[in-house]
């Protein structure tokens, strides 16, 4: 075989095979494009929830909210994760992509499925929110789109294992996968479980929408749906933590202080984190207390333990690396001298901070049966997951994009000054968005609600006036976050097109 089809990345010293490079590139491009669509929808939806603006009409609100959930949560995140699993199973190991045709089939399925879902939603044939709870029924093509997209993603995760097996044979690694790749192995394992649940629920729903099945039990739907809906968030957590470790390694040369402990934490994720799916069903009258408590308490806290391990291990690895570079004076010189102007590093630092304090803590609280009942379906929940999947995962992936652009696209970043402030701008916006939502939710403001003034309703109700401030905080945060998001998209695509070539 030709030996010429790889190059050595001048930034990282990694060996990049051409076939993996092209596939990673296109997955990143699709990810950025879907984030742009999802972000536009976010802006419209947020401006509708902001009572002083109340932009969209009733139907458009639910339609665009569905599109926001699908494009941001499914498409952006999963396309980027495909890029990550391919990166971790080829570039990190210095091996080629095996069966690259299959990788392209996966990409095509995701692209076709994603496009189909969007078209059907915009046509107004699937105003069902991304959860599409039965008995809400969408057009069969909507379910078909989800199935195509999910099968594509499943193939991508399977290709991770295929590549790892070949990489081991070809000497890409000896005994243990490098830690970053191990984290993405955890993500891929959870991916298989998740997408199996996806098939388990969307295939029956598809048949039901075609009238081949007469009835879908709503509580069974919810149970299996969250095996998909929640577990996919755990793919995100694993991928995000892997990005934390990889960025810390690439940018400051950080190595975990105790690698075995960090790996063990990933194993805890693999074994236990998915049981937390149950937190979506805590107020469900159907399941027994035993089922609820075993799944969300006993088991889930083992996964929370894992997050705590990572949250200490990564800053520690950064501290040790920076101290080795000579920043030793006092307790905090390393902290002051950390590369805060490097957007990849800044993004990871912000992601760790916000994920822990906004997303993580609230997640543990809201996931407890006794507390869940007072926050269920309020805006506080939306605040919680914008702390995890946006402030945590999305910011981390944005930072990693800044590393992939020189390494995989072979381009320098354009607008370096703007790139430096981008993670901070986005993070401040999302933090305000999330805290605004959580605080309004604490006063009982519901999520997924078009008009909290209840105008024209047969009864009248007014919330505590304090919510005006929190809803405005959400609105202003949304504007800042959208500005940061637009900047990210412009810098990302701009660098791919106009960036100076890296030799």
């Amino acid at each position: 075989m030709a030996n010429q089809d790889f190059r050595i990345c001048s930034e990282s010293g990694l060996k990049v095979y051409k076939n993996a490079e092209t596939l990673i590139k296109w997955n990143v491009i699709a990810a950025l494009a879907t984030l742009a669509v999802g972000g536009l929808m976010a802006l419209l939806v947020a401006l509708t929830r902001w009572p002083s603006v109340h932009l969209l009409g009733l139907t458009e609100y639910y339609r665009f909210l569905t599109a926001h959930g699908v494009d941001a949560l499914l498409a952006w995140i999963l396309f980027f994760e495909m890029a990550l699993v391919y990166f971790a199973s080829t570039v990190v190991l210095g091996t080629r992509f095996r069966g690259v045709v299959v990788g392209w089939i996966s990409f095509a399925l995701m692209l076709i499925g994603g496009a189909l879902i969007n078209v059907i939603i915009i046509m107004g044939r699937a105003d069902v929110m991304f959860t599409s709870y039965a008995p809400l029924k969408a057009d069969p093509l909507y379910y078909l789109g989800v199935i195509l997209f999910a099968v594509g993603a499943l193939i991508g995760f399977i290709m991770f294992f295929v590549n790892v097996v070949y990489a081991k044979r070809d000497g890409g690694f000896k005994r243990s996968l490098p830690l970053g790749s191990f984290g993405l192995a955890a993500a891929s394992i959870i991916g298989v479980l998740t997408l199996a649940h996806g098939a388990g629920i969307f295939i029956p729903a598809f048949l039901w929408s075609l009238d081949f099945i007469g009835y879908i039990d709503p509580s069974a739907y919810r149970l299996v749906f969250w095996g998909l809906g929640h577990s996919s968030q755990q793919i995100n957590v694993c991928a995000m933590v892997a990005v934390w470790y990889m960025t810390s390694a690439f940018v400051v040369g950080g190595k975990p202080v105790n690698e075995k402990l960090s790996r063990t934490a990933f194993v805890l994720y693999i074994l236990f984190i998915n049981l937390a799916s149950e937190h979506h069903l805590l107020v469900d009258p159907v399941l027994s207390t035993w089922h609820k408590i075993v799944n969300t308490s006993y088991m889930m806290h083992l996964a929370v333990l894992a997050s705590m391990i990572h949250a200490f291990a990564i800053p520690a690895s950064i501290e040790v690396a920076l101290r080795k570079q000579g920043f030793r004076s006092g307790l905090f010189e390393w902290f002051k001298k950390a590369p805060w102007g490097n957007p990849a590093f800044a993004a990871v630092a912000l992601s760790i901070l916000l994920f822990g304090f906004l997303g993580g803590i609230t997640g543990v609280i809201f996931g407890t049966e006794q507390f869940n009942i007072i926050r269920h379906n309020t805006f506080a929940i939306t605040g919680h997951f914008h702390g995890t999947v946006v402030a945590g995962t999305t910011i981390a992936f944005m930072g990693f994009t800044y590393l992939l652009i020189p390494c995989i696209f072979k381009r320098q970043l354009i607008w370096k000054g703007f790139a430096q402030i981008q993670p901070y701008l986005y993070a401040v916006g999302v933090a305000m968005l999330s805290i605004g939502m959580m605080s309004a939710g604490a006063f009982g403001v519901p999520r997924r609600h078009y008009d909290i003034t209840f105008s024209g309703a047969p009864f009248s109700f007014t919330f505590d006036p304090a919510i005006d401030m929190f809803m405005s905080m959400m609105g202003v945060g949304a504007l800042l976050a959208v500005a940061g998001g637009v900047l990210f998209i412009l810098i990302g695509f701009g660098s791919m097109i106009w960036g100076k070539e890296v030799k």
Binding site: K174, I189, L223, K255, K260, R263, V267, L275, H291, N295
Partner: protein, 54 residues
């Protein structure tokens, strides 16, 4: 990134376990499927239905 376990001598059992990603895959699929999905579906199926539900 560097590899661990360059030291010689027998590989500790826990490390062997963690290196076996296919075993982890099997456990990662089986544990939640049993404790969350199968148990949950079993409970749902055992709830008597209202006669009006088809």
């Amino acid at each position: 990134m560097e590899e661990t376990g360059k030291s010689t001598g027998p590989i500790p059992g826990w490390q062997k376990f963690m290196d076996n990603i296919f075993l982890l895959l099997a456990l990662g699929v089986v544990i939640p499927t049993l404790i969350y999905t199968v148990w949950g579906l079993w409970e749902i199926m055992n709830i008597p239905r209202l006669p009006i539900v088809p």
